[in-house]
Chain length 189, copies 2
């Protein structure tokens, strides 16, 4: 950030009065510009004994498989964001959403929510940011071609939990930079 | 937003190519400025049969009682944010955090996470944004002087759940403007 989005003047990066962290502060109008973590919401859609994955057609991780998920927008709930992203990326309709994983991606300042969901029908297809959409059985999951650690975690949790028939929410903090993520702390409730 | 924070030129509010929503787009360098929901994290600190509340010394809802909570910062986990806010607002140390409520505040584009937590000791006091900090028994909770619907919900859930000795996570969407919030959808898992 170089300029104030309110008045167009230059900003400095300094600790405001009554604060403990440096922020971008306008040198003219004094507005403080806060930059906060973003929320990513998505689904793990299940149809009979299979799960739905999308092959990414965009960076990052173009060509790798992922769950349908994306940035939450202003003016929607986390559940609506997860449902919308599933529709946009896989043209797929889901229901019975249950919060399944919540992950803090600390180095990239993101919070990711994945909902376990029922895929309503087989009328799915690749959206604009997707190259391919397929249903996978556990033995066919492309583990080495998954896009993100959070997606590996969600799928790993799901196939473990399915044996027990119980799907407790998992709360994970990932503290290591992307590509080397380690599960520091997992809370099951 | 009136000016591009990257180059200082004017912005227009228009739907970018390959998008479905209007965004602030720089008229000069073309950067798209996304504005997304913010995360609020906090704790419901419990000590024996009492809960810790803070009397707000800042707007909004100055003078009303709340749980220690605030905006999550970049570079921290949701749990660390909840712990930090409890320390900043109540000079209080907590442990054994368990995610208890997740609420989408749709009209204000916020996602609030409240953790049930154990208050470690009685060495608490008012932080800079707090007028007073007290422990309250159930019969003494100032229900009519609580700052927010989300705080009423968390306390209501807690005293209900305490009877059963089980504290399932509650997932709430609040769709109505502030002050008139109605619980549209509550998911207990």
């Amino acid at each position: 950030m170089n300029f104030c989005s309110q008045c167009g003047s230059t900003v400095r990066f300094d600790i405001p009065e009554d604060d403990t962290r440096p922020r971008h502060i306008c040198n003219s109008c004094g507005v403080i510009h806060y930059i906060n973590p973003k929320v990513i919401a998505g689904c793990l859609p299940v149809y009979e004994d299979k799960v739905l994955l999308c092959k990414r057609a965009i960076e990052p991780r173009n060509g790798y498989w992922t769950l349908p998920a994306g940035f939450m927008e202003n003016g929607e709930s986390t559940r609506n964001a997860a449902t919308r992203e599933t529709l946009e990326e896989a043209n797929a309709r889901v229901s019975n959403l249950q919060l399944y994983t919540i992950t803090s991606l600390v180095p990239v300042s993101q919070v990711q929510l994945i909902y376990l969901a029922q895929l309503d029908d087989l009328n799915f297809s690749a959206g604009d940011e997707t190259e391919d959409v397929q249903l996978f059985s556990e033995e066919d999951i492309p583990w080495k071609e998954l896009a993100f650690q959070t997606i590996r975690n969600a799928l790993k949790f799901y196939f473990e939990d399915r044996k027990e028939g119980k799907f407790p929410m998992r709360h994970v903090d990932l503290e290591t930079p992307a590509g080397q993520y380690v599960d520091k702390s997992i809370q099951s409730i």
